[in-house]
């Protein structure tokens, strides 16, 4: 009766997947370098350095998934000879390569910022000429949390940009997007093709790291329909099973897709308390072949990341209705250590809570900014 899901990676996303899986009598195990990883308290960790580790992992579970979008395709290829992986290999391969990803967006008529593939310095010069400045040069593979990117502001930056990123060989130059807001939509697809989407999150970053997400994104009723349409095209085209995230920019030309993540996402952590069924539980349900749960919102929610240093737990828990999620990681600058979920009664309470949190958190990121929510905006 019990099922085991093998997960590539054992960080906080795997930890929260396993937390959602246990009440369903589903056990997770993890393929991960660090046997003291955040997920280790919830399931066996198979250290991925040993020579036969991958074979051992492949033999250890009934079905497989991932929490790490840079899971090596070579490992996946070995796994899928005998086992099933959700999401499917193609989704992973596409998400790992910005050029493949943009080609897929183009194929599905999901708008993206104008871009050019760049394989040599001359390509970059041509891209600057055609797309104008500023321009963002990105490696096609390996980028994460703002790494592997270079913003060109004038023609003189071309050489420096090429020197910084050229060795990666496969690059993409993107026209600078003049966006007013960053949103993300998260959706889940079951093995029978059932689709469900959560409300749009509005994401606020600080130096490339997610600071906080507001759900539902203010004034997003129409955007929600557009974003749902885009992500459902992706899910169906990829014959996807599990949770997929699509990051979007709000521009004067409408929503533009930034990138997709073939996994549960930091901007979906609000759903543990804020939605009837969380992204973690629905991902587990999909991978295990169970019916999906409702993605409806319980109440407007704000999720705040804990970065670099832990706050005093007692101070956080003294905030009315605050939920604390710590990942059992050691402190390090820029590292995601946990998150806090707020389900404020109204904008006034949210404002108070955020002011207090900005004092309590050692690294308040973008929390000083004005935050507002809209009750009753999305059903």
């Amino acid at each position: 009766m019990n099922k085991t899901i093998g997960i590539f990676g054992g960080g906080q996303l795997g930890r929260m997947m396993a937390q959602a899986a246990l009440p369903l009598n589903i056990q997770c195990c993890f393929y991960e370098a660090d046997t003291h990883c955040p997920a280790a308290q919830l399931g066996a960790v198979i250290a991925n350095q040993a020579p036969d580790a991958l074979q051992q992992f492949i033999a250890s579970a009934d079905v497989f998934s991932l929490e790490f979008e840079n899971t090596p395709l070579a490992d996946v290829d070995q796994l899928i000879q005998t086992q099933t992986l959700y999401p499917p290999r193609q989704a992973l391969a596409t998400a790992q390569n910005r050029l493949l990803e943009k080609a897929l967006f183009d194929e599905l008529a999901i708008p993206v910022a104008p871009y050019r593939a760049v394989h040599c310095e001359a390509d970059l010069e041509q891209a600057v000429a055609e797309l104008g400045l500023p321009l963002v040069l990105k490696t096609a593979t390996g980028g994460y949390d703002g790494k592997g990117q270079f913003v060109l502001r004038e023609r003189a930056d071309i050489q420096a940009a090429w020197q910084a990123l050229g060795p990666a060989q496969h690059l993409v130059a993107e026209a600078f997007v003049d966006f007013s807001r960053e949103l993300s939509i998260i959706a889940v697809r079951g093995q029978d093709g059932e689709l469900k989407t959560w409300p749009l999150a509005e994401n606020h970053h600080h130096h490339g790291i997610l600071s906080h997400s507001i759900v539902p994104a203010p004034d997003s009723a129409e955007l929600q329909l557009v974003a749902q349409d885009y992500i459902c095209r992706l899910l169906d085209r990829l014959d996807y099973v599990g949770v997929l995230t699509l990051e979007l920019f709000v521009t004067e030309q409408g929503l533009l897709a930034n990138e997709m993540a073939p996994r549960v996402h930091n901007s979906g952590h609000w759903s543990i308390e804020g939605a009837i069924c969380s992204q973690f539980e629905n991902h587990i349900r999909a991978v295990a072949g169970l019916p999906l749960g409702s993605t409806a919102m319980v109440a407007p929610t704000v999720m705040v990341n804990i970065i670099g240093q832990y706050p005093d737990s007692a101070q956080v828990l003294a905030l009315d209705g605050a939920h604390l999620h710590l990942y059992n990681k050691t402190e390090r600058a820029g590292r995601k250590l946990g998150h806090i979920t707020l389900l404020p009664k109204d904008s006034a309470q949210l404002s108070t809570l955020c002011q207090k949190l900005a004092i309590i958190l050692p690294e308040p990121l973008a929390l000083h900014a004005e935050i507002d929510i809209q009750h009753g905006a999305v059903e």
Copy 2:
């Protein structure tokens, strides 16, 4: 920074405590006979048969609690020589003995059914004479889920009752309570004396086993205030820390206390999804010395027990908004294997869900009965 809580017992209550503790970076360990107990997936189990097991357990955590109200007082006495136990020893000792418990209720002016201590057959005859029939004879210690009880319906039952329970020596005879409903109130007290209570649950039993709980108990606005008053008297008098449950009867003479349980309780499982902070998280917060979370209700909730045999998970999860909690136990008649939480939109949806559940569950217990909820009854 991380804390470990040592818990006497490792059943489903310990399992759900540990599930609530992990996001707070609090680890639990368990003192328990069965190393494959439900809590074993979430923390170390110290097998309690080994000669030095108790010393090992005492050395294994920063602070201690329990999920098992029959935790031996001898073990507790050894523990509290060097360590702290929440709830305090006196609460445990009182709850383990119906005579001490009723004396405490009397002292605090919490009404109970008329009763007599019974130490010999003559005491029982006198109790029948004074309290009338029917009469319930119970062992003062060791009773659980309807065991250790004998209902006397006529004078001729006296001998049989005495033969059945007399060897226990310490007995209590209680006047039969003509009650319309069974309710329970759950409350939590912090180390600083902070008190919080959840809404009353209306509990429906089947052959002495809890079938389902409805929260808030219908028509309970006034009863809530009375029940809160009673349980707060107990918490303060016992200098209690953690979660306490008080079972109550609704009678024509008002609320009568049945018994207290010095622990999280089956009738509080609804609070995982139905309250802002669950009984499990607040118990952990109290034991760890953290501020308590809000016990306010998210929405009216019904909790249904899974007894004896597992249902098909997929059928349960296909129910709109249903949450499934399985305890990783093997099937056995009468055994609590899991529970299902429903947060219906209205009475009509609740009725539909319960009709479906009565078909899906191999042992539907009292679920065939009319179930109703009241939205907006308790804030």
